[in-house]
């Protein structure tokens, strides 16, 4: 190692390292709290810009990923819309070929619940729209989850809605899968009862129940709920005892839509 020592000493290179040596020793000798503070300071000075850049890049990446997935979703939905349009046109053509009456079209009137019937067991709510908005008696009322009820009383600026749970409310329905018809009415709590289904009617738990359009009040295809329980198949009963759980939460009704009929032909 003599050659190294002589090389270092000969050209006074050792002086180079002294400032660093002293600085390092001072840093090592500092109390812990000062060392920590100094570390934070150096960190803020040297690393923070990179961390910020890193977080921005991460954010950018996430946004780009989200954008990508949204674009995919958009394309998928566009394709679905196109195919629905095609099916709708095809349906129209076929109906014309068969000489069917053209289907009734509907428009929806948005409304807000402004009052509840004091006696909660009567299952009535008041909406902030009335005659002035084109509301009439017996118009169906829905929300995003399905059928809510029908209009029973109309005033100028408000109307009363009879909910599906109301003892007087009856809706003609059918099982979406098996096309078995029945009549829905309020049961206990938020559950509905599906009546008039013969014991040999093919109804299974989990089946979707939709309005059949019979009766003329409720249009066909409105979602009512899902079959929760199927009973009454034993013994000599005529009809099955079926309970349906509505998708609508009748205790939290806020924004509703009244469906108004609009004949096209």
């Amino acid at each position: 190692m003599g050659w190294l020592r002589s090389s270092i000493l000969k050209e006074n290179r050792i002086q180079v390292i002294f400032p660093y040596l002293i600085a390092s020793l001072i840093l090592l000798a500092l109390p812990n709290s000062y060392q920590r503070q100094l570390s934070h300071l150096i960190f803020a000075f040297a690393y923070s810009p990179f961390y910020q850049l890193n977080s921005k890049l991460k954010e950018l990446y996430q946004v780009s990923q989200k954008n990508k997935s949204l674009n995919e979703e958009l394309i998928r939905l566009k394709i679905e819309i196109l195919s629905s349009k095609e099916e709708s046109l095809e349906n129209l053509r076929l109906r014309e070929l068969l000489g069917f009456k053209s289907k009734t079209e509907y428009e929806v009137i948005p409304a807000e619940v402004v009052a509840l019937e004091p006696n909660r067991k009567s299952y009535m709510v008041m909406l902030d729209i009335g005659e002035n908005d084109g509301v009439e008696r017996n118009l169906p009322v829905i929300n995003m989850k399905g059928l809510v009820g029908r209009v029973t009383d109309v005033e100028e600026g408000s109307c009363w809605i009879e909910l599906l749970l109301h003892p007087n409310c009856r809706v003609a329905v059918l099982d979406q899968r098996s096309r078995v018809h029945g009549i829905i009415r309020g049961a206990q709590g938020n559950l509905l009862k599906l009546d008039n289904v013969p014991t040999d009617g093919d109804i299974q738990v989990g089946d979707k129940v939709i309005s059949s359009g019979l009766g003329g009040i409720f249009p066909a295809g409105l979602e009512i709920g899902e079959v929760k329980k199927v009973g009454g198949v034993e013994g000599w009963r005529l009809f099955k005892s079926i309970l349906v759980k509505s998708g609508v939460d009748f205790n939290q009704l806020e924004e509703l839509f009244v469906i108004r009929f609009k004949k096209t032909d």
């Binding site: 050659w3 190294l4 090389s7 270092i8 290179r13 180079v16 390292i17 660093y20 040596l21 600085a23 390092s24 020793l25 001072i26 840093l27 090592l28 500092l30 812990n32 060392q35 920590r36 100094l38 570390s39 934070h40 150096i42 960190f43 040297a46 690393y47």
Partner: protein, 141 residues
């Protein structure tokens, strides 16, 4: 041994040493010491209890490697790689020895299970670091 070679080891030990040795060989003891001190200090803030220790060790490594530049036959890739290995080993040896309060048993364990492999790993990358710039410069000339 391999499980000790994680990304922290690569980021906090292998890469800095590789850069310090490369720069010291390229530029000399002054720059080697400065670069070693700076890199060491930047890494020390992640372990503020020994603030300055890594800076001191890496500063010495940069300085001595810079001195080797003019005293050893460093045109040889082999000698550069050996110096790189020694640098990793020395860095670990002094850092662990001092930070563990001269716990020789602990130091030996870390050197045996960690530094040996990380030294070889550094040499592997160092080999490419030393070979390629040289080949590129030859081609350019």
């Amino acid at each position: 041994m391999v499980k000790n070679l994680n990304y922290q080891k690569i980021f906090f030990v292998i890469l800095p040493i590789l850069l310090i040795v490369y720069l010291a060989i390229l530029r000399g003891p002054k720059e080697g010491a400065l670069f070693g001190f700076s890199i060491g200090l930047l890494l020390d803030i992640f372990n503020p209890h020994f603030l300055g220790l890594g800076a001191l060790i890496k500063c010495f490594i940069g300085f001595f490697v810079g001195n080797f530049k003019e005293t050893l036959f460093l045109e040889s890739i082999f000698s550069k790689v050996v110096i790189l290995f020694l640098a990793v080993f020395t860095n670990d040896l002094f850092y662990i020895l001092i930070s563990s309060g001269f716990g020789f048993q602990r130091t030996f364990e870390v050197l045996w299970y960690g530094s040996l492999l990380s030294g070889l790993y550094t040499c592997f990358w160092g080999f490419f670091l030393f070979v390629f710039p040289k080949k590129i410069s030859i081609r350019l000339t």
